[in-house]
């Protein structure tokens, strides 16, 4: 490979999964200190056909399959909060910033990114590349709606910026939303500008009997969850407001603990149209899930198993796909290595392939992580 720029030529060891940097199955990785450095590396990689696997802290590496890459690129050198403007409710941050650390800074000003904080160590860049949303999306919308501006190092080795640092913008195509959830297929995320939200006075988790009824009767609850340990709603607002909502939904006076994240050997994400959530849950019972957290009104069910054979998994996937849904493998290993991580390809796969080719003509950018092996 062409010489790497000197500042990033060193191999970084990282405290992720396994021995290699950030858990990537690579012998060598770079940690660029700017998006421009990252684009220099990508330019050299594109020139020489060197495939580059991207990672934040490596907490979601299995999503889309572990992949095989010649070189790793990690965001640990981009862990700065670049420009926080509390009055404007915006923050520009490096992709390597730890979401929990960032939330700590913002919460001191009673603000939040609304990004998921359930898993320790997750980076902003990782969350955005995956398009992962927190459970508050029922009320506040997905992470995609938080990303105002993005700077990426493209597969053809240029530093590209899209969007802007304002909360409302239709200046050109919406690159920030396109990059969100793109699994690093278009480029390595260097920095983002996030739209922030003020923290409410009170936020309370309340146990309810019937999640579907709670969803129908409440006005814009933060989340309505049906889980293996019962149903919960999250309510926000002023003290009076939350008290009134709690009574309206027949919740107990005591605040409940939200269900902990699913940490089991096998984890999958079931995604169905919101109206099909009960059907998705029924399919999951048939597949003998150990734990589950279903988001009513959203259509996402996270599920975990202590043990699951791939045949049962395939039956589950078929049943969900018949409803127009998808079952995505988040954690598998062993026999799951042979299972397609995404399932049936999307209708727009041809357009997706042409988009991928234009942003990554040499197919060196986290290749194979999208559905259809893109």
């Amino acid at each position: 490979m062409t010489e790497l720029p000197p500042a990033v030529a060193e191999v970084v060891e990282f405290s992720g999964r396994g021995d290699s940097p950030a858990g990537l199955a690579v012998a060598k990785a770079v940690a660029p200190l700017s998006t421009s450095e990252a684009s220099d590396v990508m330019k050299a990689a594109a020139h020489d056909g060197v495939t580059v696997g991207f990672a934040g802290s490596g907490t979601s590496l299995e999503l889309g399959g572990l992949g095989q890459f010649d070189l790793g690129m990690v965001s640990s050198g981009l862990s700065e909060i670049i420009d926080y403007q509390p009055e404007d409710l915006t923050a520009v941050v490096g992709s390597g910033v730890d979401v929990r650390d960032l939330e700590g800074e913002l919460r001191a000003r009673r603000q939040t990114t609304l990004l998921p904080t359930d898993v320790a160590g997750r980076t902003v860049g990782g969350v955005i590349a995956e398009g992962a949303s927190s459970m508050s999306r029922l009320k506040y919308g997905p992470t995609r709606d938080r990303v105002l501006e993005v700077t990426i190092a493209t597969g053809y080795g240029e530093e590209v910026r899209g969007g802007g640092r304002v909360v409302k913008n239709v200046t050109g195509y919406d690159l920030p939303r396109l990059v969100t959830g793109s699994m690093g297929s278009l480029g390595f995320i260097g920095s983002v500008c996030l739209k922030l939200w003020p923290l409410p006075a009170v936020s309370r988790v309340v146990r309810v009997d019937d999640a579907a009824m709670a969803l129908a009767s409440l006005y814009r609850p933060v989340s309505v969850l049906e889980t293996d340990t019962g149903s919960f709603v999250t309510l926000e607002g002023s003290e009076d407001d939350v008290r009134a909502q709690t009574m309206a939904v027949g919740g107990g006076a005591d605040a409940a603990e939200p269900p902990p994240p699913i940490d089991l050997p096998i984890v999958a994400s079931i995604r169905v149209a919101p109206r099909s959530i009960a059907g998705g849950l029924a399919d999951l019972q048939d597949a003998g899930a150990t734990r589950w957290i279903a988001q009513h009104g959203v259509g996402v069910i996270e599920a975990g198993w202590n043990d699951l054979d791939t045949e049962t998994f395939t039956e589950l996937r078929k049943a969900v796909e018949r409803k127009g849904g998808r079952v995505v493998v988040r954690r598998g290993g062993g026999s799951f290595d042979a299972v397609d991580p995404w399932g049936a390809p999307p209708d727009s796969i041809a357009l997706q392939a042409s988009m991928k080719k234009l942003f990554d003509p040499s197919a060196v950018c986290n290749p194979g992580k999208l559905p259809g092996g893109l």
Partner: protein, 468 residues
Amino acid sequence: MTLIDELIDIVGESRVRHHPLDLAVFANDAGVTSGTALAVAIPASTEEVTACVRAARRHGIPIVPRGAGTGLAGGAVAIESGLLIVLTRLNEIHEVDEIGRTAWVGPGLVNLDLSVNLADRGLHFAPDPSSQQASTIGGNVATNAGGPHCLADGTTVAHVLAAEFVTADGDVVMVGDEIPDAPGLDLRSVVVGSEGTLGIVTKVLVRLMQNPPDAATILLGFSTIEDAANTVSEVIGSGFIPAALEMMDQAMVIAVENFVHAGYPTDAAAVLLVEVTGTSESVHDAVRTVRTISGANAASLIRVATDSEERALLWKGRKSAFGAVAQSAPDYYLHDTVVPRTKLVEVLSAIYDIAAAHELTMLNVFHAGDGNLHPLIAFDADDPGKLEQVRSAADQMARVSLDAGGSLSGEHGIGIEKRDLMSLVFTDVDLDAQARIRDAFDPDDVMNPGKVLPAGSRCFDASGMRIE
């Protein structure tokens, strides 16, 4: 066969226009650009749209999609020798899912008609551009339209889950999905706001919102714009985002008050319209907060409307603003830039200076909560040189917004009107990436060519070498 004959075969003679007088009807949008098409086709189904696109392709004719033509940036204005495909007949509500709170609708459906239709089910479509009595959902998708209530709920992109989409080749593809987080690239997010340059949306899956159980609209008057702007910042900093937070300057208040008699204070330098919605407890708390903050910022008037009639009257003032301007002059140029909220006062002051320097009549009504400015310049286009003068002032206003860290458009789009200012926002490398997004959908540049991106935006060839 000529293109016209083919179009007549597809949609019938009554839905093809090609005589000069008929074409003139479609020559303008609500802004100041115009253009005459070679022909206009008005299909009534996805199949007819597909056939029109294929016919145009066979004849090597570029295509411009159009809804109601209420756009302000020229995105739906015809290009010479192009085919204008008007989608207003695809105006059905196909399916409403009350449990999932979504609906499949045609792109030709008028924005307000959807919410009116859903009222008895307690649901509505949140984007509410001022044009909502006329503009179509498809047009809203094309411009990623906003409106006052996008402050809390987001612009159109947050309310479109999926779209059936006819590509430049005439293929029908689904972008987005009924399911959340559909695996793969979210092409829906670039189709929304693409101003007809990527293809034609023929069916839209929209997200519906619950109608709020309670609401209050608060009218506030201030003797300085600074006090009003500080109130905006402090309300948003106080822990809740109001449903809407609109500002009007004195010139606009006077025009509106003459027209609607909504009871706006004409002696105030700035008026804020704040709407809070939610449970009755949350509305009660929010009203108290707004009262406290505006009082501390020397509000000269605080009027809280809670009954629907009085609320409607206050909103009528806001929503009639553009109509009210007709009293001042026959034409107007409505600008649209966004600045960080904290720069509102600074940028507004520069914008007043620009209007004064050009001796132009300017009124302001805008989405203060979003920092989305809408300087409105009233003028007479028959005055020789006036439009050029207006454009030159508008150009300067865009520049001061950008210098303050803002953007070129918040909700109207780029179209033709702002296309050549794109290089003020983006480097040539950024614009090249924008052109790649377009190429992925439309490599032959037949969908609404010449809109949004300046000519020569692709600056690298396929092998990554810079094109000189």
